[in-house]
């Protein structure tokens, strides 16, 4: 991109993507000249779209008509409104394509700097892609596959008849139905999400994918491409620093997105001491953290994933390094001796406080990170209970905590719809004796939950304009959004390399391999 010369309103040059499709993998950066004004405007328009996509995903099931309707509605108010029409036919709207392409690349620059930011951007872009693909006609879909060199051969009827039963078992369809479907043979690494869910028949490294599932393949390809591109961009970004007009704008952009990181505020450090944690965990911890706490008290131990998730959260609520040491040591040494503790665990704790290794100041995990990455295995206590606990068990557990039926039903239905942090918000209302759906904003960070809890307990969480928030069953949508944005979180861009610790570099691999 050439950002240098043109001013507002300057004419754009040729758009050079050699595909006739509007939907694309964004492989070729735009070559047209963009004015600084457009630069920012385009980016903001795309951000609106991505946020709409995120919100839609929180509210509705991604394949539902409500989801589609919501996104459509939101898109209407943006410069991307024409997307809705043009996705259906083949006509070439060069302005729209330019907007699409340029804005994507600008946000890539703005959101490449931390793993957290990359993850958010990647997720929303993938969902946007999925949404746009779903709007396309069958013939355009086929064309898309061909133009992106994804023209997989469908398998012959003969081959199909040999594995018909297996295909039927996997798809839960009758063999008759299978017979009429088109199947593709692809390498299993191309459809990892189907493999993971065991939703595909595998034989000798090949996955047999039904046409309907090809979107999963596309998403896989796009995810990999985007991860790689973001990592490369992040490495390249120091070279951009010479242009002092761009950088502030880029970091400004990435800060506009609210649902991300949580900065440990200097002012809170030291407010919490080790002996307060038992009490706080009962009153103000989200379920994921109170679960970690009790499982640590019970086992006098937490596995690595748990120590990271919990340790950084505690740091976020203001537990100082000294207090953290005290806290972990006193519990772990019920099982092991002090020597061993110092040898095995203290490094990691200091590391999280930026006192070892790369000396990065690690930020607490967001819900997104907890929910999306590193699912707990046997013996692990980390993760998000709404996502990672078996629904029946979760229900039982909540019942035992005397969560009222009205809340409970709502929570469970949100969980079933895959809206885990919405469920978490309903849970919050129940334990804080607030009316159902009182909280206007969904939690996106465990530390946000904690702060909101503290505010509520201090009587600061009152609906605007109403004196006493008694248990009216009415939804009060006017709740303190202002307050929210203050204790809200800004995206961290200081650290590109947010590896969890020295011993686990998967995330870097994931993005750069």
């Amino acid at each position: 991109m050439d950002f240098s010369t043109r001013r507002k309103g300057a004419k754009k040059e040729v758009v050079t993507n050699n595909t006739s499709q509007k939907l694309q993998f964004y492989k070729i950066p735009p070559t047209e000249t963009v004015s600084l004004h457009e630069f920012e405007e385009f980016a903001l328009e795309r951000l609106k779209v991505l946020k709409a996509i995120e919100t839609a995903g929180e509210k509705f099931v991604k394949t539902s008509s409500e989801y589609e309707a919501y996104v459509r509605e939101q898109l209407r108010n943006t410069k991307f409104s024409k997307l809705l029409k043009s996705e259906k036919n083949d006509e070439n709207d060069s302005e729209l394509r330019s907007l699409d392409n340029v804005s994507h690349f600008i946000l890539r620059l703005a959101y490449c700097k931390s793993e957290e930011a990359r993850r958010w951007f990647r997720q929303q872009e993938l969902d946007l892609f999925r949404f746009r693909f779903s709007l396309m006609s069958e013939s355009l879909k086929k064309k898309f596959l061909v133009e992106n060199n994804l023209h997989y051969e469908s398998i012959s009827d003969e081959e199909k008849s040999k594995i018909q039963e297996q295909l039927a078992a996997v798809s839960n369809k009758g063999t008759g139905v299978v017979e009429s479907l088109e199947y593709f043979k692809v390498h299993f690494t191309d459809v990892l999400d189907l493999v993971q869910k065991r939703k595909v028949y595998l034989h000798k490294g090949h996955a047999y994918v039904a046409y309907d599932d090809m979107i999963s393949l596309l998403i896989g390809v796009y995810r990999e491409h985007l991860s790689q591109a973001l990592a490369i961009t992040a490495r390249a970004i120091p070279h951009l620093e010479e242009d002092e007009r761009l950088l502030p704008m880029l970091s400004g952009l990435s800060k506009r997105y609210l649902g991300s990181d949580y900065d440990v505020k200097k002012s809170t450090v030291g407010q919490v001491t080790a002996d307060m944690i038992d009490m706080l965990s009962k009153k103000s911890f989200p379920l994921c953290m109170s679960h970690l706490h009790s499982s640590m008290r019970q086992n006098h131990h937490l596995r690595h994933g748990g120590r990271q998730q919990y340790g950084l959260f505690l740091k976020g609520i203001g537990l100082s390094l000294d207090e953290a040491m005290k806290f972990w040591r006193s519990e772990f040494t019920k099982l092991i001796d002090v020597d061993k503790f110092d040898k095995q665990y203290s490094y990691n704790i200091r590391h999280n406080y930026g006192k070892e290794g790369k000396r990065a100041d690690y930020t607490p995990y967001s819900c997104m990170k907890i929910i999306m990455s590193n699912a707990p295995g046997p013996g692990d206590s980390h993760g998000c209970p709404f996502k990672h606990t078996d629904v029946d068990l979760l229900r039982q557990k909540l019942k035992n905590m005397t969560i009222g039926d009205v809340y409970l039903d709502k929570i469970i239905s949100e969980v079933k719809a895959g809206r885990y942090n919405v469920a978490c918000t309903r849970y919050f209302e129940s334990v804080h004796k607030l009316p159902l759906e009182y909280q206007a904003q969904t939690f996106s960070h465990p530390n946000q939950y904690f702060e909101e809890s503290q505010r509520t307990l201090n009587g600061e969480n009152k609906p605007v304009g109403i004196g006493t928030p008694q248990r009216s069953q009415k939804t009060m949508t006017t709740t303190s959004t202002e307050n929210k944005s203050q204790n809200k979180t800004k995206s961290c861009i200081e650290e590109f390399d947010t590896m969890d610790d020295d011993f686990d570099i998967n995330e870097v691999i994931e993005t750069s391999a």
Partner: protein
């Protein structure tokens, strides 16, 4: 280990290890494995090893330029345990000289770690760290299920199964595709293989719907076939479907740790288990049923054997010391694995030699 107690005494390990590393550790084949024919540059020299020395001193980020370098260092240090890690972007030894963000793990075998401790709910014989000839069949079932899925479903061919020396078994999947797998790829395979889903707070559920996934059907077949023998003769439970479910429940995830990260370390083959003294020998997956964990030689046995066998073979040619001990049969399994593996790079080397320029 209740059955056959060997003469091994953990106290003698510091005296035996130097002899083992001097005369018996199979450096040659070991290097041939990890060098992968030298097809990919640096794949040996950028590999991380870690050593556990006496008194639990643990040193990470060791790396070696070649077989000689490796041999000398192992003989000098006499590690109680050797772990193998990933192939990195730089020599692990020199990791401090590069920026942390550019020092990244690039490749590693896909590895599995199956441990018997977790079978405690189902076995009724011994418990905890021990195994006996009654519960070993559970392990064999697990090996068969995983071995089948890796070969038939994923198309992997180069699987190295290794006894961990006590109550566990490891599997190294060495195919190129496996070595290059991304972290999400590893996770996907792990989940695919797990019959039971979920962590501590989930109910243990075997997904046995009316029409299970073909991979589950195959697993059930394996259990059923082996179960009749196992249930009736060894343990006293009934061979009904519920028990089959129980056994199935144990397989993957609950006790098979698939290492999802590229950067995880796993104990190397041919280590000595410090508690039992047994050598971590390869297991032939085609003959799992005849693999007897209690016949695996201990370090004291093989060192002793050295003293009692003539150092040269009859025709006067010198043979490797390990071939003169009861490690011989296990080395043949390793050789078979290597021979197959070598076929994969022979073609590549020929291909490369045509256009190779020396730089």
């Amino acid at each position: 280990m209740p059955e056959k107690t060997s003469s091994y005494d953990p106290e003698s390990l510091p005296d035996l290890l130097p002899i083992y590393y001097k005369k018996l550790f199979p450096y040659g084949p070991y290097f041939r494995w990890l060098n992968y024919g030298g097809v990919e540059k640096n794949c040996f020299s950028h590999r991380e090893f870690s050593f556990t020395l006496k008194d639990d001193i643990y040193i990470r980020y060791q790396s070696f330029s070649n077989e000689k370098d490796l041999t000398e260092e192992i003989q000098k240090r006499c590690p109680y345990k050797i772990d193998i890690g990933a192939i990195f972007s730089h020599r692990p030894k020199e990791h401090k000289t590069v920026k942390a963000s550019s020092f990244v793990a690039l490749k590693k075998e896909l590895v599995f770690d199956i441990d018997m401790t977790d079978y405690d709910d189902v076995r009724s014989c011994c418990s905890g760290a021990d195994i006996c000839s009654k519960c070993w069949p559970l392990m064999q079932i697990a090996i068969k299920i995983i071995d089948r899925a890796l070969r038939d479903d994923f198309g992997f061919e180069h699987l190295l199964w290794v006894y961990s020396g006590r109550r566990g078994v490891h599997c190294w999947v060495c195919d190129e595709t496996a070595r290059k797998l991304s972290q999400p790829g590893r996770t996907a395979i792990a989940e695919y293989l797990s019959v039971v889903k979920g962590g501590e707070s989930q109910t243990r559920k075997v997904m046995l719907d009316d029409r299970p996934h073909p991979s589950i059907t195959s697993a059930i077949d394996i259990v059923r076939k082996r179960f009749t023998d196992y249930a009736v003769k060894k343990q006293d439970f009934l061979g009904d479907d519920d028990k089959i479910k129980d056994v199935l429940q144990l397989i993957p995830e609950e006790n098979v740790n698939v290492s999802k990260g590229v950067n995880h370390l796993l104990k190397s083959p041919f280590c000595i288990h410090p508690k039992t003294g047994r050598v971590c020998v390869p297991i032939d997956p085609d003959n799992v049923d005849s693999f007897d964990a209690f016949k695996v030689p201990t370090i004291s046995e093989i060192v002793d054997e050295l003293n009692h066998v003539e150092p040269t073979s009859e025709d006067g040619k010198r043979i490797k010391d390990y071939k003169r001990t009861s490690m011989k049969g296990y080395m043949e399994i390793f050789d078979k694995f290597l021979t197959n593996l070598e076929k994969t790079w022979k073609g590549k080397l020929i291909e490369q030699s045509g256009k190779l320029t020396y730089d």
